[in-house]
């Protein structure tokens, strides 16, 4: 395969994500170790200092959000599967595609390099609020480390915009004969909507990054007030700006970003549930509509990150309503998933289990969304571990379950080998248990008042220690569970290696799937919509099979 072949590029993206997810997980485990045993010195390194803890927080969030949850579902599996699923042999711009992938790799290298510059990695979190992020005086890591962060994310934004334009063009222009919009699988609708959001969101992020760079090095004041005293030094700059402008621009990007991470997984879940339930997706057209509606509403809700940031309280009310509204298309998706499998006696293959896990985690993480959408409740919950629990369940864990589902489901297609089902099932049960054991208790520590990004929960002078001491037992439980969750990935790792070393054995369409990516290579013409399964649970009419379409069983 050539270096610009979409499968090569896709595997390149997956490789970036694998490196990133291993690295990001190690960072999170170090955070948990430090929170539970702050006096424990890390071998070779020694004690983890407060600024080093914050560097772990910042890099964990940045790496996981950008290089795992954005790269793997959208660019990785998008490139591997998207062309085949729409009856095309390639992506629209192969060279641009390969360039984006290498830019993303350089971005990751740049980001990780921030650990090794003088004063280390930045400490301002993945949201990089100024003035903390605008001046090297504000803390260690905010000098060279922060510049590396800015460069890395700027490269990433350029690569993601190019990659999204590529995906959009491919879907609009390169669909094979007979692949009408209504016949597109829901995964493609997920990629399409996420690509639309990427173009809008990443261009705004790039502009904000450029402005922050100017504030840091060219004495502008986009995000700085006329007078700002940091570390006993009055900043020398022109203009009278506001940090709130950064919050607006960042979250105008940041909220669509979380939908970019989860929309492909939502589409895949619908298709995999239908595949193994041997049914049509319940309310297919409504699922297309809700995908687009979630994308559209996703760009109208950024203010819910700012309820207590200094926004006009009337604006808080408006953003509360748009945020509540997004719960409805999301609930419609859950209803469709539940109805699709209702009394279907599905085949419990590993990809099916992970799709069901996605549904469970999406429900659990999603139900706290409407709570956080109410400004008066967010006043109490904002920046506590309740929020950490919410987004780790709905975005991180559901997102990862989508990725694992995709890996088990498409592995035979890409590598002509099937991952061990026995190990896969162990992997699923251990992972879902670990995910809930780690993130459910965080709701309670958050409700007890534990703020995010505290490098230490005990030994703080005054009544704060008394307040935070109520969470001590749960903290230990969370740390142990996090290690359990990480170890639960070992059977998966073994499964991958053992399967790759084994000879190729897999049949052409092992899951009896109906969508185009499973068609024999020379068939690119689509003859019908997806999910035409017979009521006997065995027979099916794939999209590539010519001839009449048998009447489908009633929904």
């Amino acid at each position: 395969m050539s270096a610009t072949h979409h499968r090569t590029v896709g595997l390149g993206y997956i490789a970036i994500s694998v490196v990133a997810v291993i690295f990001g997980t190690i960072l999170s485990l170090l955070m948990r170790l430090h929170l539970s045993w702050p006096a424990w010195p890390l071998p070779i390194h020694g004690l983890i200092l407060p600024e080093e803890y914050l560097a772990l927080v910042t890099m964990h969030g940045t790496i996981m959000l950008f290089f795992v949850l954005t790269v793997a579902p959208q660019s990785g599996f998008g490139n591997l599967i998207l062309p085949a699923q729409i009856g095309s042999r390639s992506m629209a711009f192969p060279r641009l595609n390969a360039t984006s992938m290498w830019l993303t790799a350089i971005a990751l290298a740049t980001l990780v390099a921030a650990f090794f510059v003088p004063q280390g990695a930045p400490i301002s979190g993945w949201t990089a609020y100024p003035p903390l992020s605008a001046s090297a005086l504000a803390g260690p890591g905010q000098g060279t480390g922060m510049d590396f962060w800015l460069a890395a994310i700027a490269l990433f934004a350029i690569a993601s915009t190019a990659s999204a334009i590529n995906a959009l063009t491919t879907i609009v222009k390169l669909r094979g004969d007979g692949m009408t919009w209504q016949r597109l699988p829901l995964t493609v609708w997920g990629w399409f909507t996420a690509a639309l959001l990427s173009v809008i969101a990443f261009s705004v992020l790039l502009a904000a990054l450029a402005m922050l760079f100017c504030d840091r090095h060219l004495h502008t004041g986009f995000f700085l007030p006329a007078q700002d005293l940091i570390n006993a030094t009055l900043l020398q700059h022109h203009g009278d700006g506001s940090p709130l402008l950064w919050l607006h621009l960042f979250w105008f990007f940041g909220h669509p970003e979380v939908y970019i991470a989860i929309l492909p997984g939502m589409g895949l879940t619908s298709m995999v549930l239908a595949n193994f339930a041997r049914r049509r997706v319940f309310a297919y057209r409504l699922m297309i509509a809700t995908t687009l509606l979630i994308g559209f509403l996703g760009i109208l809700v950024w203010g819910h990150h700012m309820f207590v940031a200094g926004l006009n309280p009337f604006a808080g009310s408006a953003f509360a309503i748009s945020t509540m509204a997004i719960a409805l298309p999301s609930a419609a998706k859950v209803l469709s998933w539940l109805a699709t499998i209702w009394r279907s006696r599905p085949q419990f293959t590993t990809p099916m289990l992970f799709a069901l896990g996605f549904v469970s985690l999406f429900i659990t993480g999603g139900l706290t969304g409407p709570i956080l959408a109410q400004p008066i409740l967010d006043e109490y919950l904002h920046n506590t571990f309740f929020v950490v629990a919410h987004f780790h369940l709905i975005m991180a864990m559901a997102g990862v379950f989508g990725l694992l589902c995709a890996t088990y489901y498409w592995f035979p297609l890409i590598f002509h080998r099937q991952l061990s089902e026995r190990l896969g099932k162990w992997h699923f049960w251990l992972t879902i248990f670990g995910a809930y054991a780690t993130f459910l208790p965080m709701h309670l520590t958050g409700l007890a008042g534990e703020p995010r990004q505290y490098s230490q929960l005990n030994g703080i002078p005054g009544p704060a220690t008394t307040l935070l001491a109520t969470t001590t037992d749960l903290q230990l439980h969370i740390t142990v569970s996090a290690f359990f969750l990480a170890c639960a990935q070992l059977p998966f790792l073994y499964n991958l290696i053992a399967t790759m070393l084994a000879p190729s054995t897999s049949p052409e369409n092992p899951w009896s799937a109906t969508t185009m990516e499973w068609s024999p290579a020379d068939l690119l013409t689509t003859h019908r919509g997806s999910c035409h399964y017979f009521d006997d649970g065995i027979n099916f009419t794939p999209q590539w099979q010519p001839g009449a379409t048998p009447a489908p069983p009633p929904e």
Binding site: L54, F282, V308, A339, S360, Q374, P375, Y380, G449, P451
Partner: protein, 247 residues
Amino acid sequence: MLSAQANPGQHFWHLPIDASKHGPALDQHLLLNLWIALALLTLAHIILFAGLAFRRRASRPIHKATLEYLPLAALTILFAFLSVRAQHLWATQRYTDASLEAMQVEVTGMQFAWYFRYPGHDATFGNTKLSLVAPGEGNPLGIDPHDPHSADDIVTSQLVLPAGREVDLTLLSQDVIHGFSVPEMRLKQNALPGQTAHIHFTPTVPGTYAILCTQLCGLGHYRMTATMLILPLDKFAIWLQHHEIRP
């Protein structure tokens, strides 16, 4: 005044004690939300497991519209109901300013400390300038000594307030964004450099409470805490007398 302690959900959900006037209504709404979320979580998983466990039927006679739109309509009504209740509480707290009788205290955040300023006898804060800030010389807020209003300003590192009287806090920051948060008062608002924010509330239960910083502000973020001391009215009067500066 202590009615919030009687709520059994408070313990189950690990909520700390509730010592402000607006707190019990907020807690009640929060607990309602949490119980509803838990109920919906359970219901959805029962449907999920039942759907997987039950024997396959020959056909599904249930009408699609009923299955899809009826639950959606129910959820819409539920979310609308919760929204209206929440907006009402939000409006009560935020849409109006503090009453004119409210006690004025200025809160200033800086890496990594909180300072509190009371206006003194003249009920007016003296001017401050960032160029005058000199913590080593006892002027961490940069109060202008030439302003006649400055002389009687009281600056403390502990926020001492009387129980039962409304307080209007003016939030400021000298450097980066800080988050002023008092979990036991169910209170949170960011302090931004270059702009002021106001938040008003009435503490009800005397005691000692933690003030936390809830917006990542640098390496000492975790230790940017302070104490809020709520005193009965008579004891507060004595405290004030001790701290008052006679011109």
